[in-house]
């Protein structure tokens, strides 16, 4: 258990590949941090710098109060679970898990106990005498996790530990990691490119792109208040709808023009923009598919006309792709709340009207792509 502090961390690989830069993060004791972002954004590099497997080009890294930039991995007291397990093939499962403890010269009896205990948590007691090659992918992944937890490390690192598993097993293991986390209660840094994993596991999420941190926050924060266009688009599935729009200032009041309609912003947003003394400008207007609803009362403003393109029945919800003013809009509708006329389903070309609350819209500067509402 320990805090981890990353200060202005930067990594430049040979050949001037800047993989990570300006990475600032204070991880609290026992916090579960998830690094998420598209492929090649520098997640693994960051994690490997924390592990000591990659030299830090610039910046400072603290584990607890100790500056560890030049501390060898073995002296950092961290454990890591690799994407492809990295089990020692010439050792049995038991030996794999006991390896680190043996190196620390712990008494045999203590080692036996710890391994046994970890094996019980992970439900692998039956395989202790097997070699890794005689295990399935999911079992190997458990052993890899077991090897890390027996050490009782200060910090627990995981690099896409579930990405080699099939969808069903992945969900199951994700739930187990949540349980595990409750049992072993230590500091976690977890890398994934899967935003669902990020949202469900993280106390806080770090969203990265091209080596930069785009936003750090709790799952709620990054979902409800994305700091920029990238985060808004990355978090949430299906993606947030974006439209080109105009922010118009009239005196001290703000309205937007989008999809051929104009309407006043809600008081909260007015207040934020006013406090920033924001001028009229081109913006990207964002609204999540799940925040759009069908509009039956045409007195309600704003409302938008659209025609159905395709509808995807997902069971408990319908993903509706509609066209409005030449732009594609995705809407998620709860099946259970559908009006009778649509119970039978939507057909191509059906006219519909939709609307959304003023409190769910996002505005981003068209040029900087930063949120105007933070």
């Amino acid at each position: 258990m320990a805090t981890v502090t990353l200060k202005e961390l930067k990594k430049v690989y040979d050949g001037n590949v800047v993989a990570v830069q300006a990475f600032d993060l204070e991880i609290a004791d026992k916090e579960f941090i998830v690094l998420v972002g598209p492929s090649g954004c520098g997640k693994s590099t960051t994690l490997r710098m924390v592990a000591g497997l990659e030299e830090i080009t610039e910046g400072e890294l603290y584990i607890g109060d100790r500056l560890v930039n030049n501390v060898a991995p073995k002296d950092r007291d961290i454990a890591m679970v690799f994407q492809n397990y990295a089990l020692y093939p010439h050792m049995t499962v038991y030996e794999n898990m006991a390896f680190a403890l043996k190196l620390r010269k712990e008494p045999k009896e203590v080692i036996r106990q710890k391994v046994q205990q970890a094996a019980e948590i992970l439900d692998i007691t039956d395989y202790l005498q097997r070699k890794p090659k005689a295990l399935s992918g999911g079992q190997r992944q458990r052993v890899a996790i077991g090897r890390a937890i027996v050490r009782d490390p200060q910090v627990f690192l995981m690099d896409e530990p579930l990405s080699n598993l099939d969808a069903k097993l992945r969900n199951q293991m994700r739930a187990e990691i949540i349980k595990l986390r409750q049992r072993i209660d230590t500091t976690f840094i977890y890398v994934t490119h899967d935003q669902t994993e990020a949202m469900t596991l993280g106390d806080r999420i770090v969203i990265m792109k091209d080596g930069f941190v785009k936003q750090i926050g709790t799952p709620q924060e990054v979902f409800n208040h994305p700091a920029n266009l990238f985060v808004a688009g990355f978090i949430g599935s299906p993606q947030m709808n974006f439209f080109d729009a105009d922010l118009i200032r009239e005196g001290d009041n703000y309205k937007v023009r989008v999809l051929g309609r104009e309407f006043w912003l809600d008081e909260e947003r007015q207040g934020i923009l006013r406090s920033k003394d924001m001028d009229s400008r081109r913006v990207k207007f964002g609204v999540r598919p799940e925040h759009i609803v069908l509009c039956h009362d045409l007195a309600l403003e704003p409302h938008f006309h659209a025609t159905v393109d395709i509808s995807e029945m997902m069971g408990s919800s319908v993903h509706l792709h509609v066209e409005s003013e030449g732009q594609e809009v995705v809407i998620i509708l709860e099946t259970i709340a559908l009006p009778d006329v649509y119970r039978a389903g939507f057909r191509h070309g059906d006219p519909i009207n939709f609307t959304f609350g003023g409190n769910v819209i996002h505005l981003f500067d068209a040029e900087t792509e930063e949120s105007l509402l933070l």
Binding site: K74, N84, P89, H90, F99, R104, R140
Partner: protein, 291 residues
Amino acid sequence: MKFRKRISNAIIYIILSILALIWILPIGYLVLSSFRVEQGSYFMADRETGKQYVMPKAYTLNNYKRLFSAEARKMFDFPRWMWNTFKIAFFTCVISTVFVLFTSYALSRLRFKMRRPLMNVALVLGMFPGFMSIIAIYHLIGLVPGLAQSHAALIMIYSGGAGLSYFIMKGFFDTIPFELDEAAYLDGCTKWQTFIKVTVPLAKPVVTYTVLTTFMVPWVDFIVAGTIMKDKYENFTVAYGLFEMIRVENINVWFTTFLAGAVLVSIPIAILFLIMQRSYVEGVTGGAVKG
């Protein structure tokens, strides 16, 4: 279809049998003749009729006994040469294997400036036959007091350049995922411990291969041993020593004894092969990373 397959199988087996025969015949001849009662050299011809024959007329263990007899040891000290060769082989094998392991590990796992050029130079150097430099080495060794005509000199020559044949071992190390090293570092290993506890055990088949090949060197080398030892009869290795028996002036009397010696020489090597073949054949890398 089935018929064609049979024909092709038949052809393959015939070719293989011929090859096997070509391989086995000399060995069979050697073993049989080493038990031969009649003396005489290469050709076995009947004294009276002058007709040549292959199978010995009578068998005896005398050729073997003779190797160890006090009378013979005055001229050809076979037991001593065996022991010499064994000593030299042992040390050559240990030192060479260590050299090859270290070189291969460095070239596979460490990154340093001259790595590529070094590898290429080593590869090219390794292609020259070792005895090319033997005269130079002979003179160099003469410069070091006590080294001339010694076993230490032979061991140094045999194992000194071993690192040059890093190629197979390095290739094998390259197939061991680097993540295993990283996992070991995180588990608390130093580089040395990683090498000893992870890399070497995983490379068991090639380590075995290296042990076998380096152990064999002194048993089959003739040129280097001869050049270095010259007339230092008590320091000879078997390969060079046995050859003394089939020089023109000796061959008629000593030929069958020579054959017995040759058979005995193959025994320690055969034993080593039998002991090590299990780990030689058995692969151990499965299941390291997702496969």
